[in-house]
Each structure stands twice: as C-alpha cells, then as structure tokens.
Amino acid sequence: MTSLTPYLGEFAAGARLTALACALALVGSLALGVVVALMRTSTMPLARRVADIYVDIFRNVPFIVQLFFLFYGLPEIGPELSPFNTGVLALALAGGAFTSDVIRSGILALEPGVLEAAQVSGLSRITIYRRIVLPIALRTSIRPLGSVFVNLILTSSILSAITINELTGVAKIVASDTFQPFEVYGLLLVAYFAMTTLVSLGAGVLHRRLNRHLHGGAA
C-alpha cells in the first residue's frame, strides 16, 4: 500500500480533474435541465415533442456510445473540442436529460392553487416561473438532484476512455506501473464511494436548509 504514496500527487491531479469536469457538467446539466423541463411542461406541442425526444435518446443510449459519437463525430462537422471539453459536453447533455426529469416532477408537484393565486394577481408568465414555479420546484428537487450529481460523478469515470486523465485514467496508469491493480482499483472504488456519499450528505443538508420554512409547526 505504501508503494502507492509516490503517486499521491498524480491521484490528486486526477481527482481535481474529475471534480472540475463534474462541476462544469453539473452547471450545464442544471441549465439544460431547467430549459428542457420547461419545454416538457409547456403548452406548445412542438416544444414538448422536441424535449421528449431529447430525453428519450439520452436515456436509452449508453453514455460511452454518446461520448464516442461526440469525440469522433464532432470534429467531422466542425468544432475541434479538446477531449476534456468533449467529455464535459457529453456529461452535461446526458445529465441534462435526467435533471429535466427531476425538475419536471418538481414543477408538476406544485399545488395548482398556488399557481392560480399567482395568475389572478396579474403576474406575468415569466414572473410566475421566475418567482414561484422554479424556486419551489428546485427546493423540492434538491435530493433527487443530488442523485443526479452522484450519477455524474460515477459516469465521469468513463471519460478515461477518451484519454482524459481524470481519477480513473490516472488509476489505470498507476495500476500498470506498480503491478498492483487490486490495491489501486480497490482504493479507487472506495474513493468514489467516499465522494458520492459526501455529495448525498451534502444534498440532504442543503435540502433541509432550503426547505426549513416549507414545513413547520403551526403557530
């Protein structure tokens, strides 16, 4: 085990890359997820159709296939993205599909009466979405969004397949260098487990904080 300590620096670099990729992908997923969720709950049939197709595709095709499609296919039609950027894009696109599911559920769970009260006070649609629908939907979605983030972190390990040296990529190199695959991958497993547990716990804390006013004893 101690023979792995010289590699600590590289592992740290890999972990940083994983964290960066996941953080960026999370932001992308959230933005995309909100837009798609709004499209899926909109009254325009075209918007709903397009959004439904997007979610359908990204939920039923393996991530690695999506990744290869972007990595090998994108350069053909134009943008030459670095492997890292391609990876983040792929993660964000896939994450967006799952995030939209969560946010859509949050929007649909809104009490219709609250929406009606907002409508009859003359608030514009945009204001209603901005001040009422989304703030409530997001608050109730924190835990499931945490699950999506966990999923992102686990999926990010697949980025090692397109030469990105995030955590798993680094581990592959170290494992073959040290001829200790069992220890290395075993530790890696535990490391991911620790990361995802932290995220889940964090989501729980955030959920409680943001929702503390929504449930309480009556005066």
Partner: protein, 223 residues
C-alpha cells in the same frame, strides 16, 4: 490497416456484437436477479452478521463506477487469486454483482412498502416467516418493485457497453472497430446508438406487458 467502406461482412460482425451484448445482458440479469433476491431475503430474515454486511456491500457497489468495478475484477482479481480471467468471465462476475446490488435495494424497498400490518396479521394466523414472505409479502412487493425494476433493466443494458473497454467484443467494441476502419464515426456510432435504443425500448415494452399480466392475476375478480 486499409480504410474501406462498409461491407456486408460488417452487418454480420454487427449482429455478432449485438448477440454478445444481449447474451451477457440476459445472463447477468438472471444471475443478478437471483442473487439480489437472495440477498434481500437474507435481510428479511435479519440474519445477524450477513444482513448488515450484505447491505454495506450493496451500498458500495451502487455508489461506485461500474467501469472501476470491471477493472478491479478483470485486472485485480487474477493478481489476487493467481488465476487468469477472460474478459467475458470478468464481465459476467462484475455485472451480475452490480445488478444484484440494485435488485437488492429495489427488493428491500418494495418489501418495506408492504404494510407492517400485513406481516403481523400473517404471523398472528400462524404462518411461518417463509410462508408470509412467499404468500403475503412477495406478491405485493413484486407489484411495487416492477416500475423500478424496469428502469434498472434498461440501465443495466447500457452498462453492458462498458465491457468493451476490457476487450469483450460486444456491440460497442464492434462500433469501435468499424469506426477505426471506415472512418465514418457519425454513421457507425449513430447505428450503434439506434441499436441500443431499440433494445431498450423492447425491454420497456416487454416489462410493461409483463406488469399488466402480473396485475391481471392479482386483480380482485369479484364473486
């Protein structure tokens, strides 16, 4: 390597890859279901040491990347055990275990959804734990668990694509081969994607039909 266009041989290779993916998916699903249900039964019986251990193991498998699990089994186990492992064997072991962990969690949750009073009533009537499980809990739990199970199966189908990384010639690996040879990534990966998509839809449809059958059996038919 010569770069060539698509040939009819490619279709065969594609089908072969598809076959490998399907076979592995089917096998690991069956084994995973059996293992996972056995796991959950352990928990139902509250066996002192095994149950919490099983729960911990399930958590670990659920919350770590499948790719890393594959590497651990394929690269790590041989070094530990001294035996060699073929990619297919490693894939079988890893995916079965992974599926089992998720089945375990779904089963446990489904069993918990069956009201406490159901179990108590059964015990009061003198049914043994096994009889209670079999006659009272399991049928109702199955109804609860069906939805999550369908989602799990579709997910595990996509997970099989990762076995290409450790060298199994599944559908994804065929895609990689064709991609390199024909240099038509768009077409190749689109086709691969469509095939996976169609398989996923097929599974969804089969499960929906099975669920209807299941419900039909347990419907109250009246006097």
């Amino acid at each position: 390597m010569r770069y060539s266009g698509f040939t009819y041989n490619d279709l065969l290779v594609l089908l072969q890859g598809l076959g490998v993916s399907v076979a592995l998916f089917a096998a690991t699903t069956v084994i995973g279901l059996a293992l996972g249900l056995a796991w959950a039964t352990l928990r139902y019986y509250r066996t002192p040491v095994l149950a919490p251990l099983a729960a911990a193991l399930a958590e670990l498998l659920k919350n770590s990347p499948v790719l890393v699990q594959l590497f651990l089994v394929f690269f790590g186990l041989p070094v530990l055990l001294g035996t060699d492992l073929t990619p297919v064997e490693a894939a079988l072991i890893t995916l079965s275990g992974n599926t089992a962990a998720f089945v375990y969690v779904i089963a446990v949750s489904a069993i918990e959804s069956v009201g406490r009073d159901q179990i108590e009533t059964a015990r009061v009537f003198g049914l043994t734990r096994w009889q209670t499980l079999r006659r009272v809990v399991a049928p109702q739990a199955a109804a609860f668990g069906f939805g999550p199970l369908t989602g799990l199966l579709i997910n595990q189908l996509q997970v099989t694509s990762l076995i290409s990384v450790i060298g199994v010639t599944d559908l994804t690996k065929v895609g990689a081969i064709l991609n390199v040879r024909t240099l038509e990534p768009f077409i190749v990966w689109a086709v691969i994607g469509v095939l996976y998509y169609l398989m996923a839809r097929l599974i969804a449809r089969v499960c929906a039909r099975a669920e209807l059958r299941l419900r039909a059996h347990s419907q109250w038919k009246g006097f």
